[in-house]
Every structure is written in structure tokens, then in C-alpha cells.
């Protein structure tokens, strides 16, 4: 029962965008791990450069992320009749 309520709450948060920043951070970390794994693989110099470039970018702050997320959300047709 408790677990079901927890899942429901998580879904409400997901649905409303309340956890969008957490999602983003998770995605960012995952991406970083993938990059770290790639580092050990055989790569061309250009690829390494790209990776280094991406790696040097820290994740967005909560404020900056929310700003970008909202602007993106309201570009295009998002509500109809």
C-alpha cells in the first residue's frame, strides 16, 4: 500500500514537472559515466576533444535549468481547444 502511494506520488511529481531537475541531473550523471567508459575505448583524437569539451561543462543550476525548461515547454503548440 505504502509503495503504491509512493509510486503514485512519484508519478504526480513526474507529471507536473516537479522532479524535472532531478531527472536532468540523473541524465547528466549517466551521460558522464558513459563518457568516462568511452575514455578507455579506442577513440580518434577529434572524439576525445569533443568529450573533453562536454565534460568541462558543469550541469545547469536548478534556476537555470528551470528557466530553460519552461521556455522550451512553451515554444510551439502545447495547448489546444
Amino acid at each position: 500500500m505504502f509503495n503504491k502511494l509512493k509510486v503514485l506520488w512519484q508519478n504526480i511529481r513526474r507529471l507536473s514537472g516537479d522532479d524535472a531537475y532531478e531527472q536532468y541531473l540523473q541524465h547528466y550523471l549517466q551521460h558522464q559515466t558513459e563518457l568516462a567508459e568511452l575514455k578507455h575505448a579506442d577513440l580518434e583524437a577529434a572524439d576525445m576533444e569533443n568529450i573533453a569539451l562536454e565534460k568541462s561543462e558543469p550541469p545547469l543550476s536548478r534556476e537555470a535549468f528551470f528557466k530553460e525548461w519552461q521556455n522550451k515547454k512553451w515554444t510551439g503548440i502545447k495547448r489546444c481547444c
Partner: protein, 689 residues
């Protein structure tokens, strides 16, 4: 055994469904329980979803669970994100469900409850839900491309341009008619006006809260906002009882129209975080909450529908809008059965979240069924009113007369019982000064909802329920108005950017102000004319919107049919082809009648000529003569606009037919733009073996 039980259950659903539809179709008695409507809808949806939608998914579209969706392949943690299917369902439903399915059925109730109800059910399961589902599927297979892009890629440049122009014009007409609905709800009602006005600072407070105070905490901010909105409803009552404050909010329609126009411009120019985004959170929560509450109230209370199955107005003489049952019931119901606008959400937006193709049936087909159910509830809320009351609220003064006594006499002459005292008492109960000629559907829906809520949860608060219902309608009408103006602005910037690149920069302030001004002027014009029109304006604007919306649906169905044929599925192309043929018939017939009918309440040109003759012969009273030239011009403009819509529709149809004929003749065509199969990594069982 297990299979047998399933068969028995589905047989019971079929039997219950047939019984419920027969009950509502054959009833000619005094009244009928609304529960029959709910039962009929639930059974029709269940059968259609389980069998028809499942068949389309498996056989026609050949949905492939092992195939990676764009959300998975292009996952960037921002807009492309594989998401739980119920969360996507929620997003999709919140995006497609606007005020249309509430307003359309309320207006269409003038024909009686039956025609509208049947079309809401049949139109949704065979037309609207199919359109949404196949569009979602095709867009998912094409990296979440938009309807316009798919039209261009698969049919040709003409289809793409038609979809773009069609969308822009529908937006203009839609915003105008929705603005008119809000104006009519606020007219001479300090309570409604102050409550709706309060939603603006409330949205801004929430905007600041989410932006500066607690960034991104959407849920706590929304909870705060909903509490403030409820306080605004109560506070509106207090203002209404305060002699000095109430005059600040007591306005005529025209003043309110100017305020809405000014508000629309401000909302389009302001940053989204300040007004649009927070308002949308509030409207989504209020919308979901109210619709759920209404469903519960209808089930607990089982109100009786008093409207007859058919009224005499099927002959085209209806007071709310002119025109016969065929084709106008289809044009009027619009969004509750099939809405072209949904194709814009089902392509482009929703596919970016879809984690697996198997969810397409739930999200594309299922969400439309829920929207159709909202339309059924609106139909119930409109028809539980005594028909006399329904017509007194919804008939414009230009048809029944300005004075209460005249209006009542006219409505009584149609055979619907209602008295002046009854209407006065009702207005008093609802906390309004008058409920005569409150056209647009919102006030009558609010009266219906208030009486349902009042009976289910306590009658003492009728006025509160009424204004709660008005706030509920206004808040998401205003969201559509804000969002629509903004989208219109982007489209215009995009189009004009081809001529002068600088204007295409969406963040360049002079361009923002200029293009927002143009869009607001576009819908503001139709809103202004609607307000000064003694027949209420809704009678002109809603059919125009309906024609435009059904035209866009026909374009979406053309694209879908074209892709089905090109994919070698000619024998299944009827799933979109049949609704397409039907839409073309009703849209073309309605457009023909709106342009050329001799009946001045139907034909734009006939109405313009009639008014011009009256103006020339000097029979019009001075106040009507003053606005007559505007009305004449507007009727002519509407006639040309309708011609344009129907011409666009036929161009797309001919273009699609050309593609189909070339395919059948084995001639070269634009290639299918479906993205190649890539196995999904999210479906563990399939991929790892």
C-alpha cells in the same frame, strides 16, 4: 474457462451498451436518468478501445514493441525523454482537453440531447480517436515530426503550407470565440469579473514563487495557487456584496472585450514564466479536479435529463445558432468528437516522451476517449436544466428580445415552460443580476454544474458553485488565449522571417511587439464584432471555428490516408479514409450553406445583404444603424474566410488523391520518411537474447 469468462464479460458490456443506447435513443418520455448516458459512453469506449483500437494497432499500424522510439534514440534529458505511459497520457490529455468539448455540446443541445450525444460517441471512436492515434504513430516513426512537416514530406509542399495557414487561422478564430465566451460570462457580473481578474495576480505570484523563491517546485506552488483561486471565488462574493467595490467590476461587454484584448497583448509579450506557465499549472489542476468531481457528482446524484431527445430546432430555426441538424450538429460538437488541433499535439509534442510504441493505443486513442467523455458530461450538464431555462440563458437578445417578458413569451411560444419569476429566482440563487441572454455556453454550463454540485454536495452554496464553475472555465480559456496568441506570434514571426530575417528572431523585442500586436488585432477584431453583434456573435464565430477545426482534422486524415496507402496498406486505408470522406461532406456542406444560404441566420452573404437593405431603407433604430456597416463587412469577410477554408481543404484533398493515384499507377512518389528500425534497449526481454 478463462477465455469463456472474458467472452461473457465482453458480451455483458455489449448488451449493457446496446440497452443504454436504446434507452437514450428511444426515450420520448418526460425525462431520463443521466446514468444511461454514462453507461452508454463507458460501454462504447470499452468496446472500441478493446477491439477496434487494438485491431488498428496490431494489424493496420503493425506496432512494434521492440523498436526504439525517438524518445529513446534521441534522449537528451530535456525534451526527448522516455517517460512512463501514464505520465505521457496525463501530459497528452492536459494538452488536448481545452474548452471546446465543454462549449460545443452545450450549444448543440439546442437540437435536443440525442444527436449531439450520438455524434460525440460515434465521432470519437471512429474519427477523433483514430486520427489522434495514427498521427501519433506516424510522427513517432518519423522522429516526432510535426503534422505540417509530415504533410510536406509525404504529400508535398502544398499540404504543408495548407496545414500551416489552416492552423494559424483556426487559432485566430478560436481565441476570438473563447474570448467572447469569457466576456459573456463576465458581462454585468462583478462576482465573475473580480474572480477572473484575481486569477491574473494569483498566476503571477505563483510565477515568482516558482522562479525566484523556490525554483522548480511546481507542486507546492500549484497547491498554493489552487488555494488562492478558491479564496478568489469566495472573495468575489464579498466584492459583489460591497456597493463601492462592485462598481469597479461591473462592466458592459464592450469594455470587457477591450480589457481581454489588452490582457491578451500583455500576456503574449510578457515572459512565459510570469503568467502563462503558472496559469497553465493552475488551470490543469483545476480542470482535472473539476472534471473528476463532476463525474463523481453525476454518478452519486444520477440527475435527470429534461431536454427532449429532439427539439423542433432540427429544422434550422434554433435560437442559439441557425442551421439544420445536418451538418451543423457535427460542426458544433467539433472537439468532443474529432478535433484537427489534436493532430498538432499528437505529432511533434507527445512522441518525444513515448518510451514504447505499444503505449500509442492508450495515449492516442485513450486520451481522446476521455476528452469525448468530458463532452458527454458537458452535454449532461446542459440538458439537466429545464429546456425553458436552457433557452432563456442561451438565446441572444437579438432573437428573443431584450426584455425578460418578451424573451419568456417567445420561449413559451416554442413550447418550453419557464417564467420570469423562475429566471429571477435562479439568477438570485446563482448570485447574478440576470441570466437572460448569457450566450456562449459558459453561464448555462455553470448553472448546470452548480445545480449538479449543489444537489450532490449541499444546496446552500449554489452561488459559490456557479462562480467556481465560471472560474474553472475562464481559467483554462485564458490559458488557451495566452498560449494561442503566443503560438500565433511564433508562426507569424516564422512566416515573416522569410521576407525579413530580423523579424524571425523570436527574442527581438520590436518583432515580438509587432507580431503579437498583429495576432491580437486579428482575434481582437472578431471579438469586437462578436460583442457588438446583437445576435451574440457566438452564432457566427462558433460555426466558423467548427468548420476550420474540422478542416484541419480533414488535413490530418489526408496525411494519414496518404501514408497508409504509400506504406502498401491500401486495403486498410478506410480507417482514416471513411472519417475523411464524412468530414469533407459535412465541412463542405456547412461551408456552402454558411456562404450561400438564403436564410439570413445561416448565410453570411444573405445576412450582409439583408442588413445592407435595411440600413439603406432606414428601418434600423439608430444604435443598430451605427454598428450595421461593421456587421455587414464582417459577414462578407466571414464568407470569404469560409471560402478560403474550403478551398484549402479541397486543394489538400486533390493533392492527396494525386499521390494515391500515382501510387496505384506505379509512378514515382516522394519516398516514405519513416526512420529505419533500431532495436529498443528499454525492452530487456527482447533485446538481450
Amino acid at each position: 474457462m478463462h477465455k469463456n469468462i472474458k467472452t461473457i464479460i465482453w458480451l455483458s458490456v455489449v448488451i449493457l451498451g446496446v440497452a443504454a443506447i436504446s434507452a437514450i435513443a428511444l426515450n420520448r418520455g418526460e425525462s431520463i436518468s443521466a446514468l444511461w448516458f454514462i453507461a452508454a459512453a463507458a460501454c462504447v469506449y470499452a468496446i472500441a478501445y478493446r477491439f477496434y483500437a487494438a485491431w488498428i494497432a496490431a494489424t493496420v499500424l503493425s506496432i512494434d514493441e521492440t523498436r526504439a522510439t525517438p524518445a529513446e534514440r534521441l534522449d537528451n534529458g530535456r525534451d526527448f525523454i522516455p517517460t512512463n505511459k501514464w505520465v505521457v497520457f496525463g501530459h497528452h490529455f492536459a494538452a488536448i482537453a481545452g474548452p471546446g468539448p465543454l462549449v460545443g455540446p452545450t450549444l448543440a443541445a439546442q437540437f435536443g440531447y440525442l444527436p449531439g450525444t450520438l455524434w460525440i460517441l460515434v465521432g470519437a471512436v471512429l474519427g477523433g480517436a483514430v486520427q489522434d492515434m495514427v498521427t501519433l504513430f506516424f510522427s513517432t516513426r518519423r522522429n516526432a515530426r510535426s503534422l505540417g512537416q509530415m504533410a510536406r514530406d509525404e504529400i508535398g509542399p502544398i499540404g504543408g503550407a495548407a496545414a500551416l495557414i489552416g492552423t494559424f487561422l483556426i487559432m485566430i478564430i478560436l481565441i476570438a470565440v473563447l474570448g467572447l465566451v469569457v466576456v459573456n460570462a463576465m458581462k454585468r457580473s462583478p462576482w465573475a469579473t473580480s474572480t477572473i481578474a484575481a486569477t491574473i495576480p494569483i498566476a503571477m505570484i505563483i510565477g515568482f514563487y516558482m522562479r525566484n523563491f523556490r525554483p522548480g517546485r511546481v507542486l507546492e506552488a500549484s497547491a498554493l495557487g489552487v488555494i488562492l483561486l478558491l479564496l478568489a471565488v469566495v472573495g468575489g462574493g464579498w466584492i459583489d456584496h460591497n456597493e463601492s467595490l462592485r462598481t469597479m467590476f461591473d462592466h458592459e461587454g464592450l469594455t470587457l472585450a477591450w480589457m481581454i484584448i489588452a490582457y491578451g497583448f500583455a500576456a503574449a509579450v510578457m515572459p512565459v514564466w510570469l503568467l502563462l506557465a503558472p496559469r497553465d499549472y493552475l488551470s490543469t489542476f483545476v480542470k482535472l479536479g473539476t472534471v473528476t468531481l463532476l463525474a463523481i457528482a453525476i454518478i452519486i446524484l444520477q440527475p435527470h435529463v429534461h431536454m427532449p431527445a429532439f427539439t423542433q430546432f432540427t429544422d434550422g430555426t434554433g435560437p442559439i445558432f441557425g442551421g439544420k441538424l445536418f451538418p451543423f450538429v457535427f460542426i458544433t460538437i467539433a472537439c468532443g468528437a474529432i478535433s484537427g488541433f489534436h493532430a498538432l499535439i499528437a505529432s511533434g509534442t507527445t512522441p518525444k516522451l513515448l518510451s514504447n510504441e505499444r503505449d500509442i493505443r492508450l495515449i492516442g486513442y485513450g486520451a481522446m476517449l476521455l476528452e469525448s467523455f468530458v463532452a458527454i458530461m458537458a452535454m449532461i450538464a446542459a440538458t439537466v436544466l429545464e429546456p425553458g431555462v436552457f433557452f432563456a440563458v442561451n438565446s441572444p437578445a437579438g432573437v428573443v428580445g431584450k426584455e425578460a417578458v418578451d424573451a419568456i413569451a417567445k420561449i413559451n411560444s416554442w413550447g418550453f415552460a419557464v417564467t420570469v419569476e423562475q429566471m429571477n429566482q435562479l439568477a438570485k440563487d446563482m448570485g447574478e443580476s440576470s441570466l437572460f441572454a448569457r450566450t456562449g455556453g459558459a453561464p448555462s454550463l455553470a448553472v448546470g454544474m452548480a445545480s449538479i454540485f449543489g444537489n450532490a454536495f449541499g444546496k446552500s452554496m449554489l452561488a459559490l458553485w456557479y462562480h467556481f464553475a465560471i472560474m474553472f472555465e475562464a481559467i483554462f480559456i485564458l490559458t488557451t488565449l495566452d498560449a494561442g496568441t503566443r503560438v500565433g506570434r511564433f508562426m507569424l514571426q516564422d512566416m515573416l522571417g522569410n521576407i525579413w530575417p530580423k523579424i524571425g528572431q523570436t527574442s527581438w523585442m520590436p518583432s515580438v511587439i509587432f507580431t503579437s500586436g498583429l495576432v491580437v488585432a486579428g482575434w481582437g477584431y472578431f471579438l469586437y464584432i462578436g460583442v457588438i453583434d446583437p445576435n451574440g456573435g457566438v452564432n457566427i464565430l462558433w460555426p466558423l471555428f467548427g468548420i476550420a477545426n474540422q478542416m484541419l482534422a480533414a488535413i490530418a486524415l489526408c496525411v494519414a490516408t496518404g501514408i497508409l496507402v504509400k506504406s502498401g496498406k491500401l486495403k486498410y486505408a478506410w480507417i482514416t479514409g471513411l472519417p475523411l470522406v464524412w468530414l469533407v461532406i459535412i465541412t463542405s456542406t456547412a461551408a456552402w450553406q454558411k456562404i450561400f444560404s438564403d436564410d439570413i441566420r445561416v448565410g453570411f452573404l444573405a445576412a450582409a445583404n439583408d442588413l445592407a437593405t435595411k440600413l439603406a431603407s432606414g428601418v434600423l433604430p439608430p444604435d443598430k444603424a451605427a454598428v450595421a456597416p461593421h456587421l455587414i463587412f464582417n459577414q462578407q469577410l466571414d464568407a470569404y474566410l469560409t471560402m478560403f477554408f474550403v478551398a484549402v481543404l479541397w486543394v489538400v484533398i486533390l493533392d492527396t488523391s494525386r499521390v494515391i493515384v500515382r501510387y496505384l499507377a506505379g509512378k514515382p512518389l516522394l519516398p516514405l520518411t519513416e526512420v529505419a528500425h533500431e532495436p529498443s534497449r528499454l525492452v530487456e526481454d527482447w533485446v538481450r537474447d
